[in-house]
Symmetry: C2
Subunit: 199 residues, 2 copies
């Protein structure tokens, strides 16, 4: 599979030229992000939480306390809508209206699956450590049975999703190009600093 | 008012010591963030979108196309759940289980209000430009009537919300402190670069 399938609700309606369904492009957006936001609903109440995530093939994983209220709502069968967003730049146009932002975002619809198989669960939690620091899963003391039980791991199949990407400079109206107003792009980046070791 | 009111659904249940309701603290988290995520529902379907936001007093503003599907769902009376999240660090503990992240996050429940008054709308859109670059609202060509009509501005009262903050280093179990495993914090920051001017 090289493209995620397009469904009525993942067909990008606003600015469809920014839409992207290519699997490698979408997965790169997912993998570069450290956090996602997960929405669902319970008793007609919208719920939304940020959390860290990681990916293995077509499975997106998150973890949390086994008492997490959002997780409970998801495991009752309420579908998740998950957003992963990178803000890459602030776009300054000559007109107020054409100011914009550069971004890469993915929105995923999926049903949560509780990872119950203990091998998959341990492997997934190792992958989480590896995402944040290669080799870490072999260094840290592994989770014991009590810790594993206190942690829920949820998996979401990556199947029904869309990405949207904006890059480049401002797109001003032709008649505004002569205005004495500067235009350009201010890059926005996420930086991982040096690890501050604890003594 | 110095504290946001606590309601049943904004009382932080998991790790309540990380909860924060102080108005200045919460507002600073909101103001430092460039994007938020807005969830709502329509016909039992969860919807979630990232967007840029700005704040004026107890009003949180977002804007978008007047044809935006999420906005339509919000304006039909479906409540919004809005998250604003800063990831500040990756916390490496001696045990896999105690790995964590430092973060500041706010979750807001609110009903959207369409900003129809044209003075409030123009003022709000000016404030958006000012948030991204001080003085910009006086530089850029102002929106004309067609552009204003194509743009919807939504306001959300900041009232029912909670913040959650984690700072500091790892908190390992006492018996793990002697393990030959390094521990520490890797800072994560968002950087605004130099504006690349368009010639």
């Amino acid at each position: 599979m090289t493209e995620y399938r397009k469904t009525e609700r993942t067909r990008v309606k606003r600015l469809p030229k920014r839409a992207e369904y290519d699997v490698d492009t979408v997965n790169a957006i997912i993998d570069e992000a450290l956090i996602c936001h997960i929405a669902t609903q319970l008793d007609r109440q919208s719920l939304l939480q940020p959390t860290i995530h990681w990916r293995d093939g077509n499975q997106l994983y998150v973890h949390g306390s086994s008492k997490n209220g959002l997780f409970k709502a998801l495991l009752e069968g309420n579908e998740a809508c998950i957003a992963i967003t990178h803000l890459d730049g602030i776009v300054f146009a000559r007109s107020a209206f054409h100011h914009s932002v550069n971004y890469r975002s993915v929105v995923i619809y999926s049903q949560a699956r509780l990872v119950e198989d203990s091998d998959e669960k341990r492997h997934a939690l190792d992958q989480l450590l590896e995402k944040f620091h290669r080799g870490r899963s072999a260094q840290a003391r592994p989770a014991n049975e009590i810790e594993l039980k206190a942690t829920s791991v949820l998996a979401f199949e990556l199947d029904e999703l869309s990405a949207k990407i904006r890059t480049g400079g401002p797109v001003d109206d032709a008649e505004d190009m002569k205005l004495p107003v500067w235009a350009g792009v201010q890059p926005v980046t996420t930086q991982l600093g040096e690890i501050e070791l604890e003594r």
